[in-house]
Amino acid sequence: MYNEDRNFDTDKLLKEAFTSEPEFKLSENFTDALVKQVERRFAWKQYLREFAIYLAVILGIMLVAAVLAFVWYDVTVSGWMAFFTKNASLVVGINLLLVFVLFADRVLLRYFMYKASTE
């Protein structure tokens, strides 16, 4: 029975409770799942970076080609503008398609293949 005269050491008791591990537990494969997720993010970022580099190189080549066309051939700005306005939908459509093909090839396909290989 409880004895009024026996004073227990609450400080000791509290200290022990404060420093005891709470019962929160993570699953055993927590680290594996997390690392896998981070690896995927890292791969996605890497593929996107490569896609951006490809795109920049292609745009650079196109820009150089355009400058050369102005310098060496009889091309005028008004001539370009007339061509673009006349074939706007075609030009935009082809460009979008090319960018998408590049994106799919450099990012999407690689990412999904990587994802499939790690599952």
Binding site: M1, Y2, N3, E4, R6, N7, F8, D9, T10, D11, K12, L13, L14, K15, E16, A17, F18, T19, S20, E21, P22, E23, F24, K25, L26, S27, F30, T31, A33, L34, V35, Q37, V38, E39, R41, F42
Partner: protein, 193 residues
């Protein structure tokens, strides 16, 4: 491997280094998040979110503080955001204020020979029933052994407030233990004589 080297390895894309970082700080993050959220089903997702944030923002870590303090700050902020979200949605099943009445009336406490382990378990329940700020500072100060300054850095609470929360939590729990021991006429705490 020290923290600076570990961070550099992770930034270089070394998956093993990241795995090591997660293993090293998993316990700390689980304690901080768990004590705030207290929901087993949410715990894993939030801990995962914390480590993803750590990974994404690691390049911003300057080494001004310890890596453990920096990770704890992310864990605290993430957990407290979720806590507030849950509270707004009314999904928290416990009271913000300490509510020990039910625990005090636990018939299990009437048994004469309750083991020391059970007394500790009961106290752990009392700790879990404290307000969120009390639980957090107790965890950071006693369990993770952070200094007042580090806790201030992690939680943004002033040092005086932290000391006050610790003292009030201790006082509150002390009062409750003594009250329960007398009310229930139990000897569950005799191991601590």
């Amino acid at each position: 491997m020290n923290d600076a080297q570990l961070v550099q390895q992770v930034l270089n894309g070394n998956n093993h280094a990241f795995r090591f970082l997660v293993s090293k700080y998993q316990r700390l993050v689980t304690h901080v998040v768990g004590r705030i959220i207290q929901q087993e089903d949410e715990l894993e997702d939030i801990c995962q979110e914390v480590f993803i944030k750590v990974f994404k923002t690691l390049k911003r870590f300057r080494g001004d503080s310890k890596l453990s303090t920096w990770i704890s700050t992310i864990a605290y902020n993430t957990a407290i955001t979720h806590y507030r979200k849950l509270k707004r949605r009314g999904e928290l099943s416990y009271s913000e204020e300490p509510n020990l009445i039910l625990a005090e009336k636990d018939p299990g406490l009437n048994q004469k020979s309750i083991e020391k382990e059970e007394a500790k378990k009961y106290l752990m329940q009392l700790i879990e029933s404290l307000p969120v700020n009390y639980r957090t500072v107790i965890t950071l100060f006693h369990l993770e052994e952070f200094s007042y300054k580090e806790i201030e850095e992690i939680t943004g609470m002033p040092e005086g407030t932290i000391k006050s929360y610790l003292s009030r939590a201790r006082k509150l729990l002390k009062g409750k233990i003594e009250k329960v021991a007398r009310l229930e006429q139990t000897n569950i705490f005799v191991d601590y004589v």
